[in-house]
Amino acid sequence: MDFKDNPKQASFRKNCREWLEKNAKLKIGVEKNEFANIDFLQAAKDWQKKKYDAGWAMLHWPKEYGGIAASAIERIIWSEEESKFDVPRGIFEIGLGMCGPVMMEYASEEQKARYLPPMAEGKEIWCQLFSEPSAGSDVAGLRSKAVQDGDNWIINGQKVWTSGAHFSDYGILVVRHDPSLAKHKGMTFFFIDMKSPGIDIKPIKQITGGSSFNEVYFNDVVVPDSQRLGEIGDGWKVAITTLMNERLAVGDANGADVEEAFRWAKNQDDIGEPLINNRSVRSSIADWYCEANGLKNTKLRTMSALSKGETPGPEASITKIVSANKLQDIGNFGMDSLDMSGMLKTDNAEIQSFQNAWLGAPGLRIAGGTDEILKNIIAERVLGLPQDARADKGLPYKDIPTGNS
């Protein structure tokens, strides 16, 4: 056991570090989430372009699409080093993490050459259009329709929870082309131009007050058949490829962690004594420290496997369940420690980070697979337990019972 890079990894890390030091500033203090801010968007695009020009944008992609065909471990090294710098992140994850891989696997050679490099460069932003008002955890229950019309398809319906739709140029879309087929058989997958006539985007106001998600309405939107990814009826299979990539992309919940809670507890007063002297606070800090380090060390085990050229085990599947719940608890702790004043908005960045954690965590426990769905996945795919008997199995989609919504 050791924590050293091998010589090749060490020299790669040194190169990353040198370039980052020349082109960005080291991070200090609490990170701000300015996802929806237009200046932030431009800054994110500028940073992505800078990386692209220097070859750091999409390390593992093939050279012809703007990558350097780097190994998985090199990708992790880059991301470890980049995360130490104060650079705008969070805009391109869906495009590069989910849309890119699906285009790589299913698009034609000309389409790949046309779309992948601008995606890597940050010039064109992509979003993912899967969830619908009546299809959340049960994504395959989606209703939006595609009807074939010569060389085109006509799309009608509604998508929801679409992150970044309002600033995206393209999107990947799964829709139902035949409701008389069984649920998982009647779907087809496309990529679309988000500026197409008939697309209407409305931001959703979240419990945080911010709007990073949207509702997206389709009214007779025309999509050429050449933009179909996979065969007609293969929509679910293609969507699953994307969701597998989503689980890799959606990991650690960013925000206040045990270090912040610990620092706060040492400085906050608790009836004349430092809060850290409170026995129940100490117990919670111990629990969060064990969870935070359990995740960190799990990541190191995954890296060790990659570093030896082995396939990592399923350990990483616990990341979001543990980190989103921990974030919610820590946010709650920070506000609780302020007693009545914990409700007040303030300029204090530490207090803000607890309030943001508390307000944002419920979303993280749902996005990219709810806690419940992720536990089902662990139970079925990792532990090998049987699927629950399903009421919709084998029924034509149109005959499946639905509620009022």
């Binding site: 800090i285 060390n297 085990r301 536990k375 139970a379 629950d388």
Partner: protein
């Protein structure tokens, strides 16, 4: 980056697993429990013959001369199979104390006998129905003779020797006693997990030998306990994994309402929670194994982190394994209770969960992570 065991260490682990499965270690545990014996002597003898008691003992003293990492993989398997042997007392506590603090002469005398099985050791600290501390130890040494009483000493009745944590002229000493010496009275105590005997040791002017520095015994004890916490964590991870495997197996086979109970989300989510707890505990134990084997200054924090995670994991897994088995899980016949009881024993030996949480946070304060 390599937070994993080597191929040789993994081979050792798989051999240990095969051995303990072939020896029906869990059945032996049940038999020790049923007959109210203290250990399975035959299994212990075989373990001695395999050389496991000398894993960390240098070759010059007839040991295998291997490291802590080899001990970690063995510990995981002993935990998985509930081995009813005094391994933790004799190896993690007694042998490690001798290796770390004894004089060369004493090592030369004792270590080969630990390898051969002639000596079995334990460590005695508790005196009353509360957690021991440097200030509440009353067993006292004067002129090398010890007077006092220790209770809940694991494996004390099988051991030939003990390290006694006792009050000295200016602090606390660690002292070696031979159970065949004068003034030693050992009696068996009834305990909740009868598969691992606990004993009362009464000392009346028993001769003793200082191990380590005089008056500095509590610090040395804490250091040994930090090391042992890593090894206990591996036993707890092994036990947790065994209970999850049992629960998964049962949930696939047991039918209710016309389908396997493992298809119900109430059961699925319970078993997924167990998997999450085990993964955190295992990863923290791996890191602590590294800290132990490399003598890192991070050991006190790493050991407490592993210990807290593993205690929580084994407690969760062993109780939810009973729940998954329903009424069967509450019977003497099913093995669930063996793991439930062992999880409690392992979580209290070397100190409770709340005490380890406290140790973790006070070590964080000392290391000042911010």
């Amino acid at each position: 980056m390599n937070l994993d065991f080597s191929d040789d260490q993994k081979f050792l682990q798989s051999e240990a697993k095969k051995f303990l499965a072939k020896e029906n270690s869990i059945k032996r545990c049940r038999s020790v429990l049923d007959k109210s014996e203290s250990i399975d002597s035959e299994l212990w003898q075989k373990i001695v013959e395999l050389g496991w008691t000398g894993i960390r003992i240098p070759e010059e003293f007839n040991g295998l001369g291997l490291g802590h990492l080899e001990l970690c993989v063995i510990a995981e398997e002993l935990g998985r199979f509930l081995a009813p042997v005094p391994f933790s007392s004799s190896v993690y506590l007694f042998t490690e104390t001798i290796i770390k603090y004894a004089s060369e002469d004493l090592k030369k005398d004792i270590l080969p006998k630990l390898v051969s099985g002639e000596i079995v050791g334990t460590l005695a600290v508790t005196e009353d129905f509360l957690a021991p501390s440097s200030s509440n130890i009353t067993t006292e040494v004067s002129n090398n003779k010890i007077i006092g009483k220790k209770i809940a000493v694991p494996d004390g009745g099988i051991a030939t020797h003990s390290i006694i944590v006792c009050k000295s002229s200016g602090g606390v000493d660690l002292r070696l006693i031979d159970h065949s010496d004068e003034g030693v009275t050992i009696s068996s105590q009834e305990i909740v997990d009868d598969s691992r005997g606990h004993f009362c040791i009464e000392l009346d002017s028993t001769p003793s030998m200082l191990v380590g520095d005089e008056n500095n015994g509590w610090e040395q004890y804490e250091s040994i306990i930090n090391q042992a916490a890593v090894l206990f964590s591996f036993e707890q991870v092994g036990g947790s994994q065994a209970t999850l495997d049992m629960a998964v197996e049962y949930a696939k086979e047991r039918y209710a309402f016309g389908k396997p109970i493992g298809s119900f989300q109430g059961i699925k989510h319970k078993l997924a929670d167990m998997y999450v707890a085990i993964t955190l505990a295992k990863s923290n134990s791996y890191y602590a194994a590294w800290a132990l084997s490399s003598d890192s200054s991070d050991l006190p924090v790493a050991a407490a982190t592993a210990r807290v995670s593993s205690t929580k994991a084994f407690q969760l897994c062993s109780k939810e394994n009973i729940q998954t088995h329903g009424g069967n899980g509450f019977t003497w016949e099913y093995d669930c209770h063996l793991f439930y009881k062992r999880s409690k024993l392992l979580s209290l030996n070397i100190g409770s969960l709340s005490n380890w949480k406290e140790k973790l946070v006070s070590n964080l304060e000392k290391s000042n992570i911010n």
